[in-house]
Symmetry: D2
Subunit: 333 residues, 4 copies
């Protein structure tokens, strides 16, 4: 971390600041230039409050030289992390297609969809049991019963399953779930992240609608700092001024994250765009950008889906999409 | 709710849709125009999934005529809600000044600040015990001990207290807290909102960094739908592209919310701007815009604050600010 | 266009409004429902000021049923527009790769780059002569001399050329330029658009940093309304809160625009990302999303480029990128 | 400017970079720390391309210590600039109220509004003659005839006038206009700014919808670098995700700009909010935040205004607003 002192700072003021920094166990390297004095802070600067330091009367500005995330940082862990669930691997060159309905609605529905997406080549089954909804009056999911139906579908098809957790008090229900999803709205529910860090379950962590990629990595760091390194990051669209799509899918996140972290990166084009017609082109683009997996909403009868039907594909549309994704991935080998 | 059907929709298709809507207990009024057919949906449309309806092949677009929030809606509750804690009243012409440190750090600190802000005219004491921090390595607050110290300060000064909850499992610790704060990152932690709805405690609900005002009202609706109507809304800045301020304080939110809802509306200029120099002008502007209260960070030694020192005022600065706020409020009577 | 009247509107008020609308040559179809009265406006509603209509005391809300752009609208022109310059075609299944330096710097530089990108398969040469720069103290381009050097490079390689116009007073200098570019900052310089509409030159119109796709189409409409239909739209990133990339490339714009308009759609990943490392994955993703062309900055010595070197590729990197783009396009046929 | 070199940079590489910087007439002060080497660049760094420097292989990051704007910078010009037109002064403690219709529509209209707003205490008359409209089919203003009518109103009332320029070719028509306005969409029309810099007319420069405050100052710098120092900055709302208001009024811009620059800062709450009901509270808040002036749309018959009627006040509403603004300003003396 580097702190630039203002022109006119006295040696006494500089000395006072150096002592204050020393009390945080930081070594300080002072460089006096013609116009400015620069302090180089050496040691564990991840605990230093940059805003506070920057607000001091004599400090012009502060700049981090090292990133504040450690365990998620590729610099300290150059090899790709590979997350494995059942036969599916995600990361390190391994690609996973996750598919399934927005919400689990009935045994018939989930098994029909699971069978169809497996036949098309999906590796993992998704399905919402606990549903975060903007309105308290909207359908909130089948909850525990939904998880039971997912487990039936897993038994029937052999597909590992992923479903979202909203509240740590329901963790017991997720015992046989293969991947626990943290939704965009909970990306900075730090207490939830810490509790999930104490499990060994693979966690799919979705980027919040207004969160930077660095904040996403800091949230991954919350989970990892408690001991769980099985994390998959997921880009699912950010909030912008554009209204033609529900959110703006930020595909640059894929190569940016691959440079910053060793964790696998997936893309969810269904929630990002909110429109079935846009899912296929964005899924193919995500594969081309280097994503380690894609997550697609598929419903056997999209126009009757209890939620998010607007963005669900039919099994036939998913089958066509999956072929295109595979073709693009092969072309880029 | 109004649904516009596409040009060329057949009578059979229209009929099919009308029956589908009827199964949701909605009456449908059909109006056939030269270019389009318009369906007027009558009944409880708050449960209708607009996106799903809009995604149907024959539907061009869907528009709500009534807002999806009910209990928070001024249309159904024209009189201002007044939240009372101790001697302080918020809303309906009553103004409250909340002041105190970002984090509770020690008994000495919190009592010193509480005494100072009371002397300047503050009505309520704030202080963070559980702190949501972007980094798992940053100071996370004194937690339960912090609440105990706040209660000491309450005893010493008589000021009611407000502090933030991050996790419903800690609710017992808030028994003697006067107002429970839900932070911006938890605005859509729906399970937390529902649990707080089961208490009778006043809740200060902060707007999320990327949440619309309608979403804020839907989150208030989550709390109200469980029976708790003691809600104070709080604007604290939204995330934009501008980097001179930490967030962009959206003061238009004050008159917009006053029109849409009967709930009181406060403003937090400290977190919005992130810079002590900007707090006073934005606090005065907030008062001028019609806010029912303002929330200010005050620290007896800002440059040593354990968090957010960059935006804290000294007690003397707070005293000057409070005088200006009062002068503006009197000028606008 | 549909106007929803407020509950409680009197017949006299409705009649007054209908007469006001009739004076704009609109027929009005009145539909009285149980809760609301809906007016269907029939005729040329592109001239109606939606905001004004919506602000009237008795009007609850207004909604367009038809888009406000006409000549750019696919509904009225279902077949893809194909823009041809020299041997290169853009749109209707034809793909064009545009490559070249950010700025023209010297004859040697532009001919060297042009020769290299042609050898790699580029169809059109780009190069900035007039440069919009945030700072008046930054290099503003070689201006007219830059265009002369581009024409030299065109003569040497046979590649058609594209370069940006900033001021209609310089139009004469663009006589032999094949495509005139309108930059993001001029997307709503309506006087410039109108003047370009009077030429027959192909125009590449870049999306503004904070402009919606509908606004982009309205700007295309400005050019088309003056008689020039040779327009290529270009997505180049929008401004968001994310700071890892210069802007956020909105690839969903490609399929969204293809649905709304018959005009070809290109993507500029160099300006969007601002970082050379991200250009290749985003170019490949753009091709996968269905773009009709891609625009890439290539420099023979990126670290010495007079501007935007940070995002330029070397000729060798461009060659590798172009192979990948072609492979993806072939895989998706 | 400070450049941080990556760990592992060799002395030869450092030396090469230092020589490259020397060729730009910069002195370099090298500071070698344990973890990083920091280069302090001394001299005129406003011409250095930060992005290019930051993209070099051995450079970790670059940071400006001094702002890139010079003539607009308060550091080099501590006293407030005061712009005077007729009897009205703006800046340095002088406050100006600008009022008038969005568009000039007729002699009767503009003189009636001018007379009314003058009676209420307005200092300057506004009125659009050239209107930037998103749609080519919308009313584009009375152009030259509109300016003539504004001059009639000036003669009748004695109020100085302000109106917008869209195209430098119309400059002659502005000879008797007192303040020339540059609209938000032209804030980065650099050629227009340069030409206006060659006049001595006061310029009101509106912030672009997606432009940072630093970019606004750089655009002011374009005008000033050509010799015109009579500039008034104007905040008029930025584009965000919120849809309750047309744009989000960023009132923090007022104190931020006052710290960074000596130029006066006005606020336009009419365009920012787009709704008449919100104009008064935001105008009062703007005054409280320290604005040097406010710009309000007033129309004698808002529901018939040819454009932007939705946000216009009646003369009576303006009169009430102006009284409140004055009361707040007096309270804060």
């Amino acid at each position: 971390m580097i702190a630039v002192l203002k022109h006119g700072t006295t040696p006494e003021q500089t000395q006072y600041l150096v002592q204050w920094l020393a009390r945080m166990n930081l070594d300080v390297h002072i460089s006096e230039g013609a116009e400015v004095t620069v302090l180089g802070l050496i040691g564990d600067t991840s605990r230093v409050d940059m805003e506070l330091l920057g607000s001091l009367e004599i400090v012009d500005s502060v700049k981090r030289v090292s990133e504040p995330f450690k365990q998620a940082n590729r610099k300290f862990h150059p090899n790709d992390t590979v997350v494995q669930v059942g036969d599916a691997k995600i990361g390190g060159g391994n690609f996973a297609m996750i598919a399934g309905p927005c919400s689990v609605e009935s045994e018939e529905q989930i098994i029909e969809v699971a069978t169809a997406v497996k036949a098309s080549g999906a590796h993992i089954l998704r399905g919402g049991a606990f549903k975060p909804r903007t309105s308290p009056y909207a359908f909130q999911g089948m909850k525990g019963d939904g998880i039971k139906l997912l487990l039936e579908a897993k038994k029937a098809t052999g597909l590992p399953i992923i479903t979202e957790i909203m509240n740590i008090s329901t963790l017991d229900l997720f015992e046989d779930v293969d991947i626990i999803q943290v939704g965009a709205r909970n990306m900075q529910n730090f207490d939830l992240l810490k509790e999930l860090g104490k499990t060994k379950k693979p966690i799919l962590l979705k980027r919040g609608l207004a969160n930077t990629l660095q904040e996403l990595l800091m949230s991954a760091e919350y989970i990892m700092s408690e001991g769980n390194e099985n994390i998959i990051l997921c880009e699912r669209g950010i909030r912008t001024f554009e209204t033609c799509t529900r959110n703006t899918l930020d595909l640059s996140a894929v190569p940016v994250l691959h440079e910053l972290t060793h964790l696998p990166v997936m893309v969810d084009p269904s929630h990002a765009t909110g429109k079935a017609k846009l899912v296929a082109p964005m899924a193919v683009a995500a594969a081309a950008s280097g994503a380690d997996g894609i997550m697609i909403e598929v419903h056997n009868n999209p126009s009757c889906a209890l939620c998010d039907g607007a963005q669900s594909l039919t099994p036939a549309q998913f089958d066509a999409l999956n072929k295109k994704v595979n073709a693009v991935r092969e072309a880029l080998v």
